[in-house]
Amino acid sequence: MDSATTLTSLIIALPLLGFLVNGLLGLSSKSFRQRKALIGTIANLTVFIPFAIAVYFFINMGQDSAPIFVELFTWIEVGSFSVDIAYQLDQLSILMTLVVTGVGFLIHMYSVGYMWEDEGYWKFFAYLNLFIFAMLNLVMADNLLLLFLGWEGVGLCSYLLIGFWYTDMANSAAGSKAFWYNRVGDFAFLVAMFLTFQHVGSLDFDIILSSLEAIPADDKFWIAFLMFIGATGKSAQIPLFVWLPDAMAGPTSVSALIHAATMVTSGIYLISRMSAMFVMSPEVMMIIAVIGALTAIVAATIALTQNDIKRVLAYSTVSQLGYMFLALGSGAFTAAMFHVVTHAFFKALLFLGSGSVIHAMEHVEHGLHEEGKDVHFDPQDMRFMGGLKEYMPSTYKTFLIATIAIAGIPPLAGFFSKDEILAFTFNAGFAGFAEPLYMVLWGVGIVTAFLTAFYMFRLTFGTFNGEFKLPEKISEAAGAEKHLHESPKSMTIPLWTLGGLSVVGGFLGVPNFLLSTFTHQEEHINLLHNWLYNVTADYELGLSHSVEWILMTVSIFVAVGGVYTAYRMYGSGATEESDAKLADRFGVFYETWKEKYSLDEFYEGLVVHPIVRWSDKGLAKFDMKIVDGVVNTVGGVVRLFGSVFRYVQTGVTSSYALALVLGVILVLSMLIL
């Protein structure tokens, strides 16, 4: 084995090993389950070492390096179909590997403290490692089928971790819901693979992408469209996004890792990987852009009405993923990946920060119980919070950094990535296909940018500013603030690390025009563009410098406007009063947002319940009465005729059986002897 093979195998195998060791030993040995430090170390190392290896690969790879292919063994080989367990290390997959293992490691580290008191500690880390294993297969696979293995594998881990506290049925139900909605997408993904194989005869990326002309235009549309449907499942887009907010039932570090930073970006990765094919179907590109923009604004409007701190973040994630799809649909694959990276930083940070807050609120509840006060409240409801910045300075500061980053205030991470997306959307308005529509989508993107800044600061102010509201709300909880504490170091170190990344992450993709305006020549300061140039099939950015300046100024104004409005309304921590004002102002609209556009009810009422009812009252009855009834009737008629021959027919089946045995023995012995 050459070193690339060994190292790649290690990246893949270590998390699997961690899963097996912690899972099998934890399942079988009670004493192992108590050794939490050991379990945590195993889990952390099996993610950290792959991260280190990925860094090594990254350092040794140039932007023009050819991809490294590592073939481990043949997976399936039947007839003309063949697919390997093989990995492809190129600029795109190494970028994703760095994010998955890097952010993944920080979240593992955070979880050591966060999950310490949970009795399922071993199981949690086993699942988390299994997730990393599946996710690495997804991003490093050199063919669609292995990617699909990772794709469904992360879905499984998501299912297991959402329902981690399974003694509450609501959590398990949320897990199942996530799996089912994802399966709808996976169904489309499967059909896309069949179509691809039918035309190309292979599922390897390099073969597919180099033989695109073998696919008729119609089927290219269908493959791209079906893959996109698959992506709407995993990456929570309209119409399949409703599972993601419910997925918040899982432990918060899971929400950070799986439902914000990594798994939900799989769809964006898939489409970027196949970008050369997607750009050949402008219709699909348009559909992607429309769905992305629509998801972005729909989720943002819901986010500003929610009071559960994690749910706000969940809708925010859906909305930000919508931005990424808007980017994909505008031919800005690099910008989409850029937003994947920056979003991984600040959204993971926001979730971990919210976990720190929830952790603190749970301690308050616990502390009150110890005082003998029977107080119950929802530790995730921001209406009980407020004023936390005094008690949790690290959490507050890092949370604020992440909020500024996601709001798009320069020069933090989110500003550059979101600005690039909007610039490319505007640019697609001149690309020759559905031009006016893209202009509208740009407008939607701008409005969403305003909303993002607004609802994120509403959340931050509501949680950290003003007075601690729990004692006001529940009189018994007077003096509860003495139970408020900052989280331990193992949790705040990852917070600060991600905080640092949220500040500087944007410099990966500084737009070229910022320099070339002054030097009057072509500049290539956008590192990420340089890095992914050979892998993704981006549209040319044909805007003039002055237009780019104007666009950037507009987005800064919009973001600042959103922050300012939020400050005016929520800066003092008066969340509920200001919410009431909003509700008054927007009336029916606000109701719709608060009801989440009633999408869940729509699916339940129009799809799920009818199918279950119809299967139960219709099909199952039909099976018993009609299908089986015909069989019984035929049997009955025969028996009627048979009564004539009643002297032969003894009516005892066992005597037929006996006759049959005797006959069989006779025939067999005749044959053998």
Binding site: G79, F81, W180, L619, S654
Partner: protein
């Protein structure tokens, strides 16, 4: 090696002799375990020395002499690519089903274990026989022990269930017998000096062509018997009864082995003997298969009895197998073959698991459980793995079969409509719905019933039963080629030669002698038209 194959097949009968001789309950169990374990161990050399490159040729062949001059009915036993894995699955399941009954069967032990052993021999015989009369004999023989297993050791409604099972399948196979006898005489006439032959090697070869009209009737008579056995929608209604009422071991053998006799028969007999009818009827049977996939899944979803749910899931899963067979290309047929094994492993495991919890609670109602994952963690893990295998999670066995079947069918020339695959693939969504929903209601949430708080987790024997199945689920999921290689060559050759035979028969068909419906069905009208022009 020929002797070894025969020894393996009849070794369980020796066990029966031992049981009847000793008449001691404890000895009965141990004799059965030793007999089936020895059967399994002795069958391993058959696997290891199997010549993969020549999987198309029958290996370890035992050829008896004709029963009478001119009547070519003979004892003909051997293994080839089509049968090897199913044969091995049968020997593997042997000790597992014996052990699964260890503590749960308490009455008439000698009879019970004798029936299991007889069933073992009959099942191996079905897969190893290459003379159709011998095949038929074993096929029927397998009915009897199952009839008694359900009828004596079954649940409350066992009599209704077992009579329905017995009569339904018997009716099917009697019709097949008529077809079989006709085929025997028809083929015998094609050989100099013979009146009758049922040698599969001759029947499936290109030396023997069956006319289009005869093929139609013969295909239908065989296919009916096999489709009842599979069971293909709408012939499935015996299955839920039989599965629910059967003791655990009976359900396991029924699901893992006996249902496969149907799909195996379609592949072994219907495809090479009646290729024209096979291809022409493919769209109709594939339609039934796809209906079965969705219908079985929807009905499974609303079942209140865990065992019934798994039984209906079999209707759905075997729909995939039938679809793959009628797609008539290497990828899909190979997928169907491996899916037969997969279904045996995962559904077998599911029935074992349901049986284990039934032994503790004596109920199969989903309602009577809820939240037990906390009490029985090892059970929960095993159940989860089998569930995931069953819903086709990549990395486990079920995915390989479903993917190959669907992918192969998508490029099938016999089933060109994409609708077959698109609708069948909906079954992938539905499988996740009914299995995970059931799992959720049985295992998760708060503990609903006080008495379930004291459930005991799996013991070493029970874990030991499931572990081999889990190992194979993962193994097939990750390295399926280790298994599909055994049938690869033969499936390709068989499909090629059958297709050539089909074309030859169609081209040589004399349209004037054919009734109108046959010319239409087999598309021989063009020739008729050209002949008319010539006149």
């Amino acid at each position: 090696m020929e002797l070894l194959l025969n020894l393996v097949i009849y070794l369980p009968l020796l066990g029966i002799a031992g049981i009847l001789a000793l008449r001691n309950d404890k000895a009965t169990k141990w004799i059965s375990l030793v007999a089936t374990s020895a059967t399994f161990l002795l069958s391993l050399p058959l696997l290891f020395s199997f010549d993969i490159a020549n999987s198309g040729a029958v290996q370890y062949l035992t050829e008896g002499s004709n029963i009478m001059t001119g009547l070519d009915i003979k004892y003909l036993i051997g293994l080839d690519g089509l049968s090897l894995l199913l044969f091995m699955l049968t020997t593997l399941m042997g000790p597992i089903v014996i052990l699964s009954s260890w503590d749960s069967i308490k009455k008439h032990l000698a009879g019970y274990y004798s029936m299991l052993l007889l069933l073992q021999t009959a099942s191996m015989g079905v897969f190893a026989s290459l003379d159709l009369i011998v095949f038929y004999v074993f096929f029927e023989l397998s009915l009897i022990p199952m009839y008694f297993l359900i009828g004596i050791w079954g649940g409350k409604n066992r009599i209704h269930a077992t009579v329905k099972f017995f009569v339904y399948t018997l009716v099917g196979s009697l019709i097949m017998l008529v077809g079989l006898i006709y085929t025997g005489y028809d083929a015998g006439a094609a050989i100099e000096g013979y009146k009758f032959t049922t040698d599969w090697r001759f029947l499936s070869g290109d030396g023997y062509h069956i006319g289009l009209v005869e093929q139609t009737y013969l295909f239908l008579s065989f296919a009916l018997a096999f489709c009842i056995k599979v069971p293909l929608f709408p012939f499935h209604t015996w299955l839920p009864y039989a599965h629910t009422e059967a003791p655990t071991a009976g359900s396991v053998v029924l699901a893992a082995i006996m249902l496969k006799m149907g799909t195996y028969g379609l592949l072994r007999i219907c495809l090479p003997l009646f290729p024209n009818a096979f291809v022409e009827f493919a769209p109709y049977l594939a339609t039934l298969a796809v209906i079965g996939i969705i219908y079985g899944a929807l009905v499974a979803m609303v079942q209140k009895d865990v065992k019934k749910l798994v039984a209906y899931s079999s209707v759905s899963h075997l729909g995939f197998v039938v679809l793959g067979l009628f797609a008539f290309n290497t990828i899909a047929v190979q997928g169907a073959l491996i899916q037969m094994i997969n279904h045996g492993l995962s559904t077998g495991a599911l029935f074992l698991i349901v049986g284990m919890i039934y032994d503790r609670t004596h109920t199969r109602e989903i309602e009577d459980y809820g939240g037990i994952a906390k009490v029985v963690p090892v059970f929960a893990v095993m159940f989860m793995i089998a569930t995931l295998a069953s819903i086709g999670l990549p990395g486990l066995n079920g995915f390989i079969g479903e993917f190959l079947i669907l992918n192969g069918t998508f490029s099938s020339e016999v089933l060109p409509q994409n609708a077959f695959v698109v609708f069948a693939a909906l079954g992938v969504i539905l499988a996740a719905v009914y299995m995970l929903w059931m799992y959720q209601r049985v295992m998760f949430g708060p503990i609903k019933h006080e008495k379930n708080k004291k459930l005991v987790d799996l013991n070493a024997r029970e874990i030991g039963l499931l572990v081999p199945l889990v190992i194979f689920m993962v193994w097939i999921g990750i390295r399926p080629t280790d298994f599909t290689q055994y049938s690869e060559v033969q499936v390709q050759e068989l499909l090629e030669s059958s297709n050539e035979k089909r074309v030859a028969i169609q081209q040589s068909a004399d349209s004037e002698k054919l009734p109108q419906w046959a010319s239409n069905l087999y598309d021989v009208t063009d020739e008729l038209a050209s002949k008319m022009e010539n006149q």
